[in-house]
Amino acid sequence: MKALRPSPQQERWIVAAARLHLGSNCPLIAERIGGWKTPSVTARCAFFVLGAVAAALTLSIFELLHLPRALFPSGVFMLMAAEWLMLREHLFHAGVEEALWAGGLLAGVLLYVQMSGDVGLRVAFLIALALAVAGTRLLNSLFVTLAAVAASFAIDLAGVHQLFAGPGLAVPASLFCYSIGAIALFAGCLEFRRPSHDQMLNWLVVTMPLCGFLWLVWEHAIVIRVLTGTVNAMFAVAALVIGLRRRAHAPLVACLVCLGCLAYQLRDLTALSLEAKLILWGSAALLLALGLDRYLRKPRRGVTSIQIGEGGSALDLLQLAGGGALNPKSIETGAQFKGSGGTFGGGGADGSY
């Protein structure tokens, strides 16, 4: 019987091979991964984009064929194509089959919207369900996280707030997001055989507190701002402690994200202008990072600021692109001479002063 996806042991070998930069041309690796093919993270992202474009084009083709309920056959076609890629070609975490699978299920949701005209709670629930099913089948952390986000939308639509259409606050949705984040943070202590399950928890730990914050970011009431600030501060501290104890990166990133949210909620603590706050907060963060870099240059209880190993080439590229992107745009000066008499006091021939 053909395996629907790699076994936990095969998946562990796939991850180990990627970390040690070993290809399937190594006999031991080829034997252990059982013929499953996985590209690098960068290639996976590129394949996902290509797969998403292919999914959109497939939908267009079925629409242009004027088939009745074109979304249904196009969705089925995409699911079949994705399953063929996984079962026949043994693709795992390759991006393209993930895009096709998600596209196929979301086509089904679109069909429901088309038939019922409903765009409310049921649709949000169906989107959450579709993404959860896709995430479970494909062991995809992004889809599982998006499913949780979609579920928060469903909770908001089920309540009083109704995505800003109702009078209430989005507290239930926000609480749901923070709860999922907290559960994921503490569930990281459990041992999972599959690296994918750890990755799912990592994504939830980083993303859900931010989503919980964003649900209430538009509320200017002091109580809400104090509450969200406090929750973010507590999450940041918990994530920092757990991240250092477990030697895990995701909780540390979650800590930084929560601190950013906290900084935003403290924006009105002083009467300084926005530019002054940005410069001060930025300088404080810079000094903190420089201090930590210096302090951790020699490992302290195993924690160091030195880069171990080669590092991710994708992150290096991102850094270079980011450095170039920060370059200030040139200030375009206007024309220095205006033939019609100018706009400054002494001229006035054009009547513009």
């Binding site: 031991l28 083709i61 940005l278 195993g302 600021s305 030195i306 270079l320 200030i331």
Partner: protein
């Protein structure tokens, strides 16, 4: 034997310490207590041990990976990089807003002088380290980047106020490109080189924004040509850099910038009706060059550039020429599928190449 010895306050991460932990790790019943920090999390130690026993990886590599898996050594380099980037972004945004909001309130000379002092302060720290022969850390790199960005903002602001260059005010971007390039070579800093190349691209008018692409059929259809010339200039610079035996780590920066700007230019030319054929020819030439580069240098990113940019451009072209129809959609799907197959083919060939 119980727990491993505690990590010293200022340890050196030696092979001896790793071997001591490894020997303990060979005994599964003692593994949980052998200095592990993340005993409950997914660890690939057993796989690393098997690879080491089979001779696939050497001892140093296995030791390093296993120490990382066990948590004996934990690097927060990426987290620090994230904080540093966010800090620099916040400061430069604040500086930009400061200039915009206070152009009329604070005298230009005072404001420009303050920025100049701030930029000099950032450069001084790097100069001191250079004089003392010390290596710059990631923090030092970002302080240098901050100095470069403040200097860019300062010169742009001063030019807008004092009009030193008159009608040729855009030449200040060329001056900045030269200044940052000199600093990049002086300090051996790749981040400064990326800022220099960004200034050069801006001088050529290649902002790389979607709006530029959409304006390709309008008055800005020359943007594509300028981008191609910019990419060619960067490649010429790279050739001179290689000839003069500059730092090897700069070559990748030149190549990635040239590839992206070149493809952007080719895309713009393809979308503009007047230069479509020329754009197509340049696109194919660039795709072939990137494919060869990918296979020769074992750099997957160039294979991604070749297939993704080409697929996207051809899809846009097909939509423009044929219009929204079944034939166009089928052709576009075939293009995307071909692009994905080509990329997969590259990926498999790159994997099969010896290390």
């Amino acid at each position: 034997m119980g727990e491993g010895p505690p990590i010293e306050t200022e340890p050196t991460f030696t092979v001896r310490e790793c071997r001591r932990d490894l020997i303990r790790a060979l005994y599964p019943e003692r593994r949980a207590g052998a200095g592990r920090y993340n005993s409950a999390m997914n660890s690939l130690e057993s796989e690393c041990l098997e690879l080491k026993a089979a001779g696939v990886v050497d001892e140093a590599t296995a030791s390093r990976v296993m120490a990382l898996q066990r948590g004996s050594i934990f690097s927060v380099f990426e987290e620090l990089r994230f904080i540093l980037y966010a800090a620099v972004a916040a400061i430069t945004t604040g500086v930009g807003l400061l200039l915009k909001e206070n152009m009329d309130r604070i005298g230009p000379a005072m404001l420009s002088g303050m920025l100049l002092l701030a930029a000099l302060g950032c450069y001084v720290t790097a100069v001191r380290r250079l004089i003392h022969g010390k290596t710059r850390s990631i923090g030092g790199d970002y302080v240098l980047l901050l100095g470069a960005l403040i200097a860019s903002a300062d010169l742009g602001y001063a030019e807008s106020q004092f009009h030193w260059l008159g009608p040729q005010w855009q030449r200040h971007l060329l001056i900045l490109a030269a200044f940052h390039a000199a600093a990049a070579y002086g300090f051996n800093a790749r981040l400064l080189l990326s800022v220099s190349l960004a200034c050069l691209a801006a001088w050529f008018g290649s902002e790389g924004q979607i709006a530029t692409l959409l304006d390709a059929v309008g008055p800005r259809s020359h943007v594509g040509t300028q981008a191609i010339i910019c990419a060619a200039t960067i490649l010429a610079w790279r050739a001179a850099h290689q000839g003069l035996r500059g730092p090897a780590q700069f070559e990748a920066v030149f190549e990635h910038f040239a590839a992206n700007i070149g493809f952007w230019g080719a895309m713009t030319l393809c979308i503009s009706p007047r230069s479509r054929l020329m754009g197509l020819a340049i696109l194919i030439a660039l795709a072939l060059a990137c494919a060869v580069k990918a296979l020769r240098g074992k750099e997957e990113m160039f294979a991604i550039y070749a297939s993704a940019y080409t697929s996207f451009t051809l899809c846009c072209l097909e939509a423009q020429v044929i219009g929204y129809s079944l034939a166009a959609a089928l052709l576009q799907l075939a293009t995307v599928v071909s692009g994905a197959l080509l990329l997969w083919n590259f990926h498999e060939r790159l994997r099969a190449l010896p290390a």
